[in-house]
């Protein structure tokens, strides 16, 4: 029993906008006052316990934060960790009490990931890109991340069977196969990264747009995206197709992304880290901002949602299934580069970089992210991410929040970046300042709703008791980096910005519809094409316990 008394509650999903409300928690869930009093009296009578009261008067109360795109677990981030021993050394995290230590900074160790997310008030995070064949690895790491409920988006955009079934026009089997993949590897939703580009990468090629040829197939990226949206909607999965567009990072990316959104044609689609896709051509410069056109399109098409992928100045580690793009990054950095191809299904690249405010490119990327945030009108469809650690670590979220909420601070920082970049940007004309309500939307209510997590992102009766309580402070960075209390599943896990105890969350899995079993046609092909047995590819369901099964739409 927990009773959070007298806080200013920001719960936009339930229309509460800073009003003083009490929040009651019982059995790890939020309940209404009467239920709480009833249960509380009973419990108190039986055990001598009384509801623990948290005096939140004058404080800001929000649901726990929800991140729908962050690279937190699995082979790719572990490669990132391997590449950055010097970086870890700068941010050691000692164990304290029963809490495990580790290393932090750009690519933290698992226990530190959970701790640092919780210490910002976040309680749910979706791993952005799991390869099916190495999904066991993703789950092993997720199991070692405390404080958070977690799930995994599953890479499908260059999968041999997905492409072959689209070639064959067999939507039924495609849906069967998608359900098989999600179910047997513990995936939450469909992720596609540079669809088709990974296939051509096997000969060190790529695709340059939606209508390019894909080696060994009769289809183009357009067909893959179209089919995956269809299947996703037919299955009514909780989250729409989660797409990393073709041509990411290129001066053609904004154009390609516009075409991609058009092809969705009213069907739900999530475009991830839009900033990295919002580049247009510019004479004498690597690229220019394409934010306005993209924001205009998103503003008028409610089927589209995006996360921004804001860039943060300083070191970062780029990691993505977009292996051809990563090879082009190597050509820029000439530093460390890892590339991996996973048989029949996907590929990835990892390249450490640094974003400098003094360069045109770095400053422009930073400016484009902010332009998008300020131009995108509906916060319910535009979420805060840094594509961590691609644009910078998730621990920079409070700084980004300050940039969004505080115009004079934003302009102060903007005036320190590369002049040429700033002159080309519309940022200084954008006067918008995010409100606390809007921050609550882009960091919890919005992503939770878009992920289909009905028990997250809000504080209504029946919601999970994942709650963050902040001291209001005009320095919004200070405010959001040091919550007074964070409550996870009804337990206080953070006090005064410090984790005080570890707890372990649940794996988020979709409630998959029943479909035809794929084994009869898939197993023989699988035996030909894969080097592990079909049965070992599947992960036992109990491996995902404790889990929460999320209903489909």
């Amino acid at each position: 029993m927990l009773h959070i008394v007298g806080g200013n509650v920001y719960d936009p999903a339930n229309g509460v906008n800073g009003e003083v409300r009490d929040i009651y928690v019982s059995g790890g869930k939020i309940c209404d006052g009467e239920c709480a009093l009833g249960v509380g009296a009973g419990v108190g009578a039986g055990t001598g316990q009384r509801a623990e009261a948290i005096d939140a008067r004058g404080m800001v109360v929000m649901a726990g934060g929800v991140d729908l795109h962050s690279h937190i677990a699995g082979p790719k981030i572990n490669v990132g960790r391997t590449l950055c021993p010097g970086d870890h050394r700068m941010d050691p995290v000692p164990r304290s009490g029963s809490m495990r230590g580790g290393v932090g900074h750009i690519v933290p160790s698992t226990f530190v990931i959970g701790r640092r997310y919780a210490e910002m008030g976040y309680t749910t995070v979706m791993e952005a890109a799991g390869p099916p064949m190495e999904a066991r690895h993703v789950h092993e790491e997720l199991d070692d991340i405390p404080m958070l409920d977690t799930g995994m988006l599953l890479l499908m955009g260059n999968n041999h069977f997905v492409l072959s079934l689209i070639d064959a026009g067999d939507r039924e089997r495609l849906a069967d196969y998608v359900v098989f993949l999600l179910g047997s590897t513990g995936g939450y939703g469909i992720k596609a990264v540079n669809p088709g580009g990974g296939v051509n990468w096997r000969r060190r090629g790529n695709v340059g747009g939606l209508d390019d040829e894909i080696d060994g197939h009769q289809i183009t990226p357009r067909h893959i995206i179209d089919a995956l949206i269809d299947v996703n909607e037919e299955l009514r999965l909780p989250h729409p197709l989660h797409l990393h567009c073709n041509n990411l990072g290129q001066p053609t990316s904004a154009q390609t992304t516009l075409e991609t959104m058009r092809l969705a044609d009213g069907r739900p689609l999530h475009i991830t880290h839009l900033q990295f896709n919002a580049y247009g051509p510019k004479k004498g410069a690597p690229f220019a901002s394409g934010a306005q056109a993209l924001a205009d399109y998103v503003n008028t098409h409610p089927n589209i949602s995006v996360d921004v992928g804001q860039v943060v100045f300083g070191p970062a580690v780029t990691m993505t299934g977009d292996a051809p793009f990563q090879h082009s990054m190597l050509k820029l950095t000439r530093d460390r580069w890892t590339n991996k191809e996973i048989e029949m299904e996907t590929q990835s690249g990892v390249v450490p970089i640094a974003y400098s405010k003094n360069t045109y490119a770095g400053a422009t990327q930073w400016l484009i992210g902010l332009e998008l945030f300020l131009l995108l009108e509906d916060p319910w469809r535009a979420y805060l991410t840094t594509d961590s650690p691609n644009g910078g670590p998730f621990t920079a979220y409070p700084w980004v929040i300050r940039l969004l909420m505080d115009r004079s601070y934003r302009e102060e920082v903007a005036k320190t970046v590369n002049k040429k970049a700033l002159e080309a940007s519309c940022l200084l004309e954008l006067t918008r300042e995010y409100t606390l309500r809007e921050i609550a939307i882009i960091t919890r209510a919005g992503p939770a709703a878009r992920l289909g997590l009905r028990n997250k992102g809000h504080l209504g009766a029946g919601a999970d008791a994942d709650i963050a309580v902040y001291d209001p402070c005009s320095d919004r960075e200070a405010m959001f980096s040091r919550p007074r209390y964070v409550i996870k599943g009804g337990q206080v896990v953070v006090r005064d910005g410090q984790a005080i105890q570890e707890c372990f969350g649940r794996r988020l899995l979709p409630d998959l519809p029943a479909r035809d079993d794929v084994a009869s046609w898939l197993a023989p092909q699988f035996a030909q094409l894969y080097t592990i047995s079909f049965d070992n590819y599947r992960i036992d369901r109990e491996r995902f316990e404790p889990c929460e099964v999320v209903p489909c739409r």
């Binding site: 160790s109 460390r336 080097t531 079909f534």
Partner: protein
Amino acid sequence: MAAYEGVVCSFCGSLCDDITVQVENNAIVSMTGGCAIGRNRFMSPPEANVPLVRGCETSLQEAVDAAARILSSARYPLVYGLSSTTTEAQAAAVRLAETLGASIDSTSSVCHGPGTVARQMLGIPTCTLGEVRNRADVVLFWGCNPVEAHPRHFSRYSVQARGWKTPDGRRNRTVIAVDVRKTLTAKTADIFLQVEPNSDFEVLTALRALTNGASLEGDTFGGVPRSQLAQAAEALRGAKYGVILFGMGLTMSSGCQHNVYQALMLARDLNDYTAFAVIPMRGHGNVAGAEAVMTWLTGYPFAVNFSRGYPRYSPGEFSAVDLLARGEADAALVVASDPAATFPAVAAARLRQIPMVVVDPQFSTTAQVAQVYIPSATAGIAAGGTAYRMDGVPLPLRRLVDSEYPSDQRILNLIEQGVRECFTS
């Protein structure tokens, strides 16, 4: 009688998962698939060992208590081994090391550690073994001898294996071998470069130069005639999908990480022309898992020290051989490995001097000189869990028979509990 199909063999880094095992009366009675190494391990279970404290038979609990006392009273404990057990047990070992403020190291530091250091400096273009089977038309083995160390590697993955774009198996591939002697692997190669001992770096550098079209003065490089190198360079550049597989001949010869660095640079250069991958030929069944687990829990792949309460990494400082050779470690916990038999003499001698706890299904040479020996259930036979193939693909290990002793994971958790009690009492 029960039959298990798709069983994973975890007795080398190939992790073949096509084994069928028959079990009767809690014993494996027959097995199909698998090479001689795997067969030997599956078909001859360890003797019925018992927990020992200073050579005397005792109960599991007594042995665990003794282990906890030894480790908790040490000033500088070392946790070592890990590569022949499950990732679950490896994670338990890291946790124990963290609780103890110990150094923890895996067999990586005496096999592929230098390769890992090179990967930290440079990264690696790599792929899963299925890509090798399905696509690789040029395969280069450098300082490794899979015919003897990974007996089914050729047929399942890299040489005779028939795959998607390699329907004719061996005939679709050019095989190059580089070694200091004509190994069984080298005998099967189309091109064999015999290098003088400890000149791998020189040969790699010359090969890189030729691959990039540079002109070189000199007739031989590290004992290899220029004409042979040129032939190899042409084969590499002509690959549609090339793979370099390297072993301890590269990581443990003079130059160590610099050798691997040069091999990685060679592959990086080749990726400007064609697809090229590198895969370390890991020996122990789950040594790749040991590196993965340590990396996600501590940020570092091996040679980690917790004495300050947070992980620090320093190969040469916190690696087991060095800690022992300098006489720093004053107690050791050895899990699923046999350092007393394999370490250099000075390090092995120190190991025999200090109080040592061994957790292992086998009563190994190391176990025989330990103060405390705790037998455990063999991973992949009597204990389940996860193991990572040399290419990072995780596979499930199953419990096929019951053992009277718990898994490594369970024993390590019990020791950790004991250590916590010692610290608080």
